[in-house]
Every structure is written in structure tokens, then in C-alpha cells.
Point group: C2
Chain length 218, copies 2
């Protein structure tokens, strides 16, 4: 829900101004801007409501809510989104890029892994490893996303391709080039897989996820 | 924070499109639309983060988060806001008005009272009474707000006056008239005060609040 909320708001005219998402009209196109603002607000709030009401153990629920709010809020995704918007207006460089990717994307991937670890009653080391796995997966995902924006068609992506370059966005391909971006995504996926080693075969799904991320074409 | 978030989003051009709030430029006027969208998202998320991280007792924290998310989310404030927007486009009547006011405003006032009751370790009857008090206070507040929109100046209000009529909004003054609206607001404040009777002098602040609501001029 938090992921969908952020996409609905991200597509708004004042933000990325996108007409297409997953091959279908974006929320403000299918309905209107006010509806898209409210739909995003509703999904964000609902995420916390579900966690507060559907989990039997309050101590677990509170931990999950703390993780999610920390990752999605002003110390995480919002900070990344804000920097992303400002970076479009001129600033940039590799340091800014890392800050944006870490906060805009990797924090929320890390959060998903952390929430799984908490639900699975992970010990402190397992929790830390899964967080690191999620963070690297998120960084890799964002680089792969930026690569696809310059290398794939709108039809393939189900959203408007080439928008980053047009908006002079601060992305890996624009800052370090396409080839180095591909290497970096591969390196991150390899590292993510490495981190999973102590978990043995029970982490196979997470391994497959890290590899699939590199091979995705949309 | 939830209150401020909803005002920041409510003022956006796609929503109420207001330039002035508490006598100062609205967030999207002082900064820009993207910043206002993100600032609202940040405040909403931060509210849940604070509740999850700053309250020692997880069982209490989870209850508070459940109350807040339920009141602010798609089953509460968002439903009211959405109906409010749609009602501007023609529908209306007293039934719709009650639905809008109950969800857009009274639910979140009820929630503030409920959260206080939970923090104060209220028993079930006290909790119910305080919820009812908050709900009536919220309904009265919204009627008083609608009255001020037609009877006060922008300078007095610190926001643009007369906007409801201009937008053909579904309000008490427009549906039942100014005089009946005033009577209704008074009736709600009286009822709110009545509900507090069992609490004795320790509810004096809440009594004063209900009365101040009727006397407010901005």
C-alpha cells in the first residue's frame, strides 16, 4: 500500500507528471488530481491501520509501524523524493545520487526485509543481514530502473520511457554512464546474494529475487 | 500533525485551491505544489512514527495508531473529503451534509478525544462519553466554520472567506440557512457539555473548549 501510495502521488502533474503506469492510465488521468491526492493519502493511512489492527501481538505491530513510518517518512522516502525533485533543477553528482537512491528507494526495500525479519522472529544478526540485503536490493532495483528508462520502450515499461533524461534527472546512467551502471547493479545483486549465505536454502526465494532484478526488462 | 497534513493537501490547487491559511501563504504558495504534496505526506507518516516510537507501552501505542488511522483514513476523513469534493459538483441535501461533516471533521475530533481517553486509562463508559463529546464538538466546529466562511472577512479568518459559496459547496448555511445553522451549532455545544457531566470539575477544560467553539470569530 505504501508503495502504491508513493507511485500515485509520484505520478501527479506537480511531481513526475506521468500519464501511464503499468500500461494503464495513472490515477489522476483515470480520475482526476484531487482523487489521486486523496487515494494516495488513503493508501498511506490504511497501511498503518492494517498493521495496528490485524496483528495480534502489539509489540510486533509497533515495531512494524515504526519501521514503515521511519522508511516512508521525512527521514526516508520523503527526503529522497524531495532531493530527487531538487536535483532535477541542476544539482547532482554521485554523492547526491547515492543520497537520493538510498532514501527514495533502498530504505523502503530495506524496510520490507526488516518487516519480514521481525515477523519471522529473526535474531539481531539475522535482522541486520536481512536489512542489508534489502538495502542493496533496493539500490540495485533503482539503478536497473534508471537503466530501463533509457534503454527500454514505453510499451515494454508500461510507463513513459526516456522521462529521466528529458527532465534532466539525476540518475546513474546520466552521472556514471550506462556501462558502469550495469556493472554496479550486478555488483549490488551479487553482494545481496552473498549476505544471504548464512541462511542456507531457506533464503532461495530472496536469492532468486536479487537475480531477477537484474534480468528484468520492464 | 494529521490536522496540518490534511490542511496542506486541502489547500492544493486540485483541492480547495487556497492561497491563504492562518493569514500566511499556504504551503504550495510559499514553496511549490510538489513540496506541499511531500510535506503533507511527511506529516501524515511522521504522526504514526511518533506514536510507534515515543510511547512506552506497545498495547497503548497500537490502540492510538488504530484510532488515528481509522479516523484519518478511507473509512473516515478521506471518505468525507471525497464526498465533499463530489458534492461540490451538484449533489447535496442534508443527508449528504451530515455524512460529509461526520467523516471530514467530526471523526478526527472524536479521535482526538478517544486518544486522550486511552492515554488517561478511561474505562469503557468514559471512553464512549469522551468519543461522543469529541464527535459533537467536531460537528459543531464544522458548522461554525461554515458560518464564518459566509459571515467573516478574509482578514478575520486568515484564509479566503466566501469560498464555499463560490465553489457551490455543500454547507449548513447553504442547505439549512444561517439562522438554523447557528441554532444547530449551539445545540451541539450544549449536548457536548451535557455529556461531560459525570466527569465533574476535571472536565472543565473540555467544557470551555465546547463553548469557545461557538464564540470563535476566526
Amino acid at each position: 500500500m505504501v508503495h502504491t501510495y508513493s507511485l500515485v502521488h509520484d505520478d501527479l502533474p506537480a511531481m513526475d507528471n506521468d500519464d501511464l503506469r503499468r500500461g494503464r492510465p495513472t490515477c489522476h488521468k483515470a480520475f482526476d488530481e484531487a482523487t489521486a491526492i486523496l487515494a494516495g493519502d488513503a493508501l498511506l493511512t490504511l497501511a498503518f491501520e492494517v498493521l495496528a489492527k490485524e496483528i495480534d501481538e502489539p509489540a510486533i505491530a509497533v515495531k512494524l509501524i515504526g519501521e514503515l513510518a521511519g522508511a516512508a517518512g521525512p527521514g526516508g522516502m520523503i527526503a529522497g523524493q524531495f532531493a530527487d525533485l531538487k536535483a532535477e533543477k541542476g544539482q547532482g553528482g554521485e554523492e547526491m545520487l547515492e543520497y537520493i537512491h538510498a532514501n527514495k528507494t533502498a530504505r523502503i526495500f530495506r524496510c520490507a526485509a526488516a518487516m519480514g525479519a521481525i515477523c519471522g522472529d529473526a535474531n539481531e544478526n539475522e535482522y541486520k543481514s536481512l536489512c542489508e540485503y534489502g538495502f542493496k536490493l533496493g539500490l540495485g532495483f533503482q539503478i536497473a530502473d534508471d537503466i530501463l528508462d533509457v534503454s527500454a520502450s514505453s510499451e515494454q515499461l508500461g510507463k513513459t520511457a526516456g522521462k529521466d533524461a528529458k527532465a534532466a534527472k539525476c540518475t546513474y546512467p546520466s552521472v556514471v554512464g550506462l556501462e558502469k551502471s550495469r556493472q554496479l547493479a550486478k555488483k549490488l545483486a551479487d553482494e545481496a546474494v552473498m549476505i544471504l549465505e548464512p541462511f542456507g536454502p531457506k533464503a532461495d526465494t530472496l536469492r532468486k529475487l536479487a537475480i531477477a532484478l537484474l534480468e528484468r526488462t520492464r
